[in-house]
Amino acid sequence: MRSISIYIAILSVIIFLSYPISLSFPQQDDAARKRAKEILREVDDMWRGASSHTILTMQVKTSHYTRNIRLEGWSKGKEKTLVRILTPLKEKGTATLKSGNNIYSYLPRTDRTIRLTSGMMMGSWMGSHFTNDDLVKESRMEEDYDPTVSFEGRRNNQDIIEFTLIPKPDAAVVWGKVVLTVLTDDYIPLIQYYYDEDMNIARTITFNKIQQMAGRPRPTVMRVVPADKLNEYTELIYEKIEMDIKLSDAFFSLSHLKHR
């Protein structure tokens, strides 16, 4: 699902930059960049796979409410994602379908499916600190950003690589830049910063609790903290991840959205 894809994009960046060539030959920038893209794509495939299936818990804490929901999600390629609420009972069956640039919501209480309008895209997704727009945009990180390595070495007793992603001039993203820090070992992400155009941090994502899942070590807890409200957060806790399972296109259709 969405968080996985962001996760994947991040990791893909890490992986491609882990190749020494791109690091030690700065004058071969063009070649390095091309290489980076190839690796990015490889990793993307590796992590997103042809398809995926996850079960996770999302905990949202804002100054007005605390929310705990358990979700099940599927993805196929970059374009199709389906997420369904499992608990609480009141919201069970509520589902979001992303198909390309469109997002559909199914609401079991009224038994209605609506397509999100442009006005709703900036609204929060499922009450979290992610917006509906994030869901659409995260699969486009490769197309929207130009990555470079801004630091490599030791920091805080850890061997890390720091990447800076600058949005391309035509990319429809509001950020000024995205900075990601990963461990050199296994390229596990540590922390990711989103900056506005004035280079102030707008939001922070931290990665914790590394565990073995679906064949590799990964962070299983991801926390998003908005810069203007530091006592709020949205946390994703992964319970189960499966990759490359068989999913038909019909699985991601509107009629299937309603399925309980």
Binding site: N101, M122, W175, D198
Partner: protein, 412 residues
């Protein structure tokens, strides 16, 4: 006939009375001129200002757009339509624009609003209020590119400055959600909060690409005409020339019904007030004329005895009332002229009373009270004065003709 001269002399036999009545008519003229003139100026101003806020005096739109605006409705081949309309007499300009709703986002916030896709080559500060109200930076230079001009309130809310980017999200012609980036090239301030906080200008070709429109597609053609009073006539001629079931041609009265409503109501209120005052003055005239007739009963009696017909006496009084009207108008012009000149060239400044936000019916109100009298209004006022005075004179004239000679000699 000599009637005119006699009537004139009769009037001036009672100088004071004639003068007072004349002054009251003159006063009525001044009133009518002031209220009609300031009204006309004000309305013309409001109409012209609102015309340059986006829709023009006459708007050419896709059929049904006025009722339910949406981005899938568009005009085709606007370039050709524009050329044809520009060739029509009375047309000052015809501007092609795309308008629609969108969400505008920066890293800090998202707000909803409207965009206007324009071609800077077709636009100018005279024809586009937003361009006229530019306070910082400038409009983007061409119809392509990633420039955007925003209002100062939006810039505040989204924390934007010249050069900073914003992302706008809208729905394209196929109903798909699309997003694009744009960088602020200029900031405007109109004083109307809704506009300053919710409208942006974008280059029209960029908008076409974003919305997946064809090269010549647009939402509307705003037609600016030389004289706003002919708006409905222009609409009809354009409608005839561009007969196409997909197209609708509307006048500002239809696209801005609220404004039309306010103007009509204000004008009616104005007319009713003027009518009442006119009645008042007519009463005064009636009083004067009647008194003058009654006190000349003897005189008229003698005239009839020596052979003057009642009809001639009737006409005599009627001519007297005509002279009275003319005297009144002359006095009116004398009183009004300096006052009119002042209002015409200088005007009364009410900006202190109105304050910062000048919107009414959604458009700007000019705080300066000035005057502008159209030919039609002048004719109307003159006609009004003459008719009222003549009307007031009818009864006395009739009385004059009715006086039986013998009775009159017994006079009061």
């Amino acid at each position: 006939m000599k009637l005119g001269k006699i009537a004139w002399r009769n009037l001036w036999r009672r100088k004071r009375r004639t003068l007072i009545t004349g002054i009251s008519i003159g006063f009525g003229v001044m009133l009518a001129v002031t209220f009609t003139g300031t009204g006309d100026y004000g309305y013309t101003n409001m109409i012209n200002t609102s015309a340059i806020m986006g829709l023009g005096h006459v708007t050419i739109e896709p059929y049904g757009y006025n009722q339910t605006p949406s981005l899938d409705k568009r005009l085709k081949k606007t370039g050709q339509i524009r050329e044809r309309v520009l060739a029509m007499p009375g047309v000052n300009d015809a501007i092609v624009r795309i308008t629609g709703q969108a969400m505008f986002a920066s890293a800090s916030k998202t707000i909803g609003g409207m965009f206007m896709g324009i071609d800077p080559a077709q636009e100018s500060p005279e024809q586009n209020l937003l361009i006229r109200s530019l306070v910082q930076g400038e409009v983007f230079s061409g119809k392509d590119g990633r420039g955007v001009v925003v209002g100062n309130k939006m810039a505040e809310k989204l924390n934007l400055r010249i050069g900073k980017k914003l992302v706008y999200t809208t729905t394209d012609v196929n109903g798909e959600i699309v997003s694009e980036i744009a960088r602020v090239t200029g900031i405007f301030k109109t004083g109307v909060n809704e506009v300053d906080g919710g409208m942006v200008l974008l280059p029209i070709n960029s908008v076409r690409i974003t919305l997946h429109y064809d090269a010549q597609d647009a939402t509307l053609l705003a037609v600016i005409i030389n004289d706003q009073r002919y708006a409905e006539r222009m609409r009809d001629s354009i409608s005839l020339a561009e007969a196409d079931p997909q197209i609708e041609v509307l006048s500002w009265q239809q696209t801005q019904a609220d404004l039309a409503g306010i103007i009509t109501m204000d004008r009616s209120g104005n007319y009713i007030s003027q009518f009442l005052i006119g009645l008042l003055i007519a009463a005064g005239i009636l009083n004067t004329l009647l008194m003058s007739v009654l006190e000349r009963t003897r005189e008229f009696g003698v005239m009839m005895a020596v052979g003057m017909s009642p009809r001639t006496l009737f006409m005599l009084v009627v001519v007297e009332s005509l002279w009275l009207a003319i005297i009144g108008i002359v006095i009116g012009i004398i009183i009004t002229a300096p006052w009119y000149a002042y209002l015409y060239y200088v005007g009364l400044d009410f900006s202190g009373a109105i304050g910062e936000d000048y919107s009414a019916g959604g458009i700007l109100v000019d705080p300066l009270l000035r005057i502008r009298l159209y030919k039609e209004s002048i004719i109307a006022i003159l006609t009004g004065v003459f008719s009222l005075t003549l009307l007031a004179g009818l009864y006395p004239a009739w009385r004059a003709g009715r006086i039986p000679p013998v009775e009159s000699l017994k006079a009061m």
